[in-house]
Amino acid sequence: MKKSQAEEDIQIIREVMERSARYTHFSGLSGVLSGILALIGCAITYWVNFNISELQQNNWYALTWSSVLIAAIAEDLMLAQRNAQKNGGSIWVPATYQVMKAIFPGVFVAFVISLTAMLEGALDAIPGVWALGYGAALCAAGMFTVKEVWVYGIIQLITGSASLLVLSQPAIIPREIVPIISFSQLALSFGIYQIVFGLWMTRKYRK
């Protein structure tokens, strides 16, 4: 075999292996639906803020957002499976496991910090922490899928950082508007962004 042929073969192997390792079962529709679920979560959170005693608010928040998370994961898996089945395949391919391993640290860190914040009564910091964790998870997942996922992760990181930095300035931000900023960022990061991102992905990749 000539050296040039060997180079050509190595190039084919590299290209195919890179393509094969990419996660392609994402669903834009799933992004839109999870954004809508998050907005429903925001509406419940808003209602809880004004109608439930402070003592019980933590339980309500935990129940609301774990339900949103479980519902979002369930619909995402169902739609990803549907996409995979359209091509006669399965969602459980090596790329899926790589994406799951990649997003785990970001999600885990956000979970631990938000649990701590909840126990300390720092509820206003939680949406910022979630955006940071989600952003980190998306950036990691972006290594194994389309580049938009990485870009979206960066947007979440910027939004989460901005929220936490603004909220940590008591000299500038009046105490009474802190929950409004926190709540607005929650709706922006997990409602509006998700819907816009989902629509973008649906339009671009027809998924």
């Binding site: 190595i10 192997i13 195919v16």
Partner: protein, 97 residues
């Protein structure tokens, strides 16, 4: 110069082996799509790889449709790794082309 495995050396078969080396197993439609092959092309080349014992094929029924799954065998993985090592050796100049 060592003997090059002709079954893997052909470009389409090399691409099939490279894909299966990453994913382990895949179905006909995914493989056809990811490698941009025609039905006939994929069938012919996968049959050659199967004959050599590098991949195995499993046909199942999903509703009324047949679903063909291709899986790399331990022999196939070994042959693919040996082929890649061979290519690297040629590129490093260890083996005379």
């Amino acid at each position: 110069m060592r003997e090059i495995d002709e079954a893997i050396h052909q470009k389409t078969r090399l691409a099939i082996m490279a894909h299966l080396a990453v994913v382990g197993e895949t179905d006909f439609l995914t493989l056809r799509k990811i490698l941009s092959l025609t039905d006939g092309n994929l069938s012919v080349h996968s049959a050659i790889l199967e004959e050599k014992g590098f991949i195995e094929t499993e046909k199942t029924f999903v509703g009324k449709k047949t679903r063909t799954v291709y899986r790399i065998t331990p022999t196939g993985r070994k042959a693919f790794q040996a082929y890649v090592t061979e290519l690297e050796s040629i590129l490093r100049g260890i083996i005379d082309p």
